[in-house]
Amino acid sequence: MRELQAQNQRSRLKLEAKAAKAKLALSEFIQLRRVTFFSNYALALFIILTLNFALPRLMPGDPFQAIYGEEALLVITPELEAEIIQRFSLDKSMTEQFAAYIFALLRGDLGYSYYYSEGVLDVILDFLPWTLLLTGSALIISTLIGLFLGITSGYRRGKALDKGLLALLMFLNGFPDFFVGILLLIVFGVTLGIVPLSGAITPYSGFGGINLVKDILHHLITPMTSLVLVWISTTYLLARNTMVTILGEGFIVTARAKGCREREIEYRHAGRSSLLPVVTSTGLHIPHLITGALFIEIVFSYPGVGLLLYNSLLTRDYPMIQGILLMVTVSVLIVNLMVDLLYQKLDPRVNNAR
């Protein structure tokens, strides 16, 4: 009897040890996952930094000239040149230059723009809010309209309305955004003259309060509409497809059987369930908020990051171009990282999927 108990205890101890081992392995495993997960982002950042560092230095000629462009040389005094060469260690070896470059970035020093006579980071931060206003409002509106049209269309699959909407939106999706923008600008701005031709606010108007808001909206409406027209189809197709799938499911049949009205089935039963994938896909589009309006901003001279980039291309303001690239990359990486982390919290399966 006693022997049996002892044996039992021994086997239990063995089992517990095994379980503890497994637990340890699991936590190690999760830690390893997390490390590789972050290393993705570290690697992406490293690729961009290297590209930013290497491109101007691979160009023929003086790296100083390549980094700052020929035009900048005309306005730079010898003292300033000496200071920049010293700051970026341009007279040292490549390794030291790379170290100096990284340390400058860590100090938040993205370089100096000769066109704007200001630090690169400060200029970018001036332009960024306009971009976020434009793309943010376009994303919200296109998602709402796309969702509504998708639900309407999916519920009437195969009917004339569905076919018409599908053809129209697929057609619209083919148009490049800058072409849509130019057309809207010509029709509503040049020919009809009901919207402003450029900018985000009327300069020197001295508007305040409600008038300022009106003025901003008046400038926002055409560029935003162009983006909405091109973006709508993404949400639309997704919502429509989800509707089609959901309509075949049991709870819709039940709703029909218990005599729910068509409108209720369309919106409260099926429509509500098609929300989730749409929200997910809209979330995935958040990283595009900074670069998504690049061409539209150029067409409408809307003072966002895209226009800043374009102007820097025209004036060959190389530090600015590199600064924007770095800024955009870092923000996209941060947003991606946050979305990924959020997903792991929301859906534990994602953790084990990789």
Partner: protein, 302 residues
Amino acid sequence: MHVNVWGEVIGSNVGKFGLFLIGLMVTLAVFAPVFTPYSPSEKTGGKAFAPPSAEHLLGTNDARQDIWTRLIYGARTSLAVGFGVSLLSTFISVLIGGTSAIFGGFYDRFWMRFVDALLAIPSLVVIILVATYLRPNLLLMIVLLSALTWPGGARVIRAQTLSIKERMHVSAAQTFGAGWSHILFRHIVPDLGPILVAMMIQDARRAVFMEAGLSFLGVSDPSMISWGKMMQFARVFTYMEIWKWWLVPTGMALSLTLIGLSFTGFAIETALDPRLRRGQGGHGTGHDIGHDIGHVDGHGGD
């Protein structure tokens, strides 16, 4: 695959329309000299900014060049970039994605880590920066765009290869001592068929858009005749009537090419997606399609 994908693509209205548009553009591009008496860079005898007439179907631009001629020669650039990128980028995708799936282990982990990193980078801005320094001509443009397009495809190919390599004919080939390149190109690629074509069409669509966009920004080789560049020049003269026969036809040509490609791609993916086979087929849409179009729509911001 037990489905006749090509038959279904040609049978659907969307597929027919898409293929028709692509065919139209290819015809214009290939036989460009047949459709016009001028050469694209030639300064014609007429006035600058001439309106459409019998000699100049779409009038002339500020440099007295025939706009119609430049339009159909521009199709050559767009289609060459689209075709080139879809070939090169798909080739890299198959090579990296396929070998990763076949070899597995450290090699697989290394490449997939690299692919994930590349996918996290906003490619539009990167390519603008690189193009600013390099001013790419046609060939370099194809290489640059491919370098940023292949990672997405590599993930798809890897996933597909992982399942295909378990099939009987692949293990039979392995038993007979076939090397990885034989297995990849003789056994796996033929099985990938329609998926590869769908991928190539998507890559081509994206490349055509990106080339036009880069030229529109003015960061490509100045001697290239390109729709994006024509729109960029035409945009300056919107206060004159000329936009009606300079800007609009060019933009429409670009849009119709993109629409042709996306409709064809849509038809192929519809034929491939088993979830869309029930009910009234032919005009369904799939989750993946919606997502993929959205992917393209980020305009490279992804």
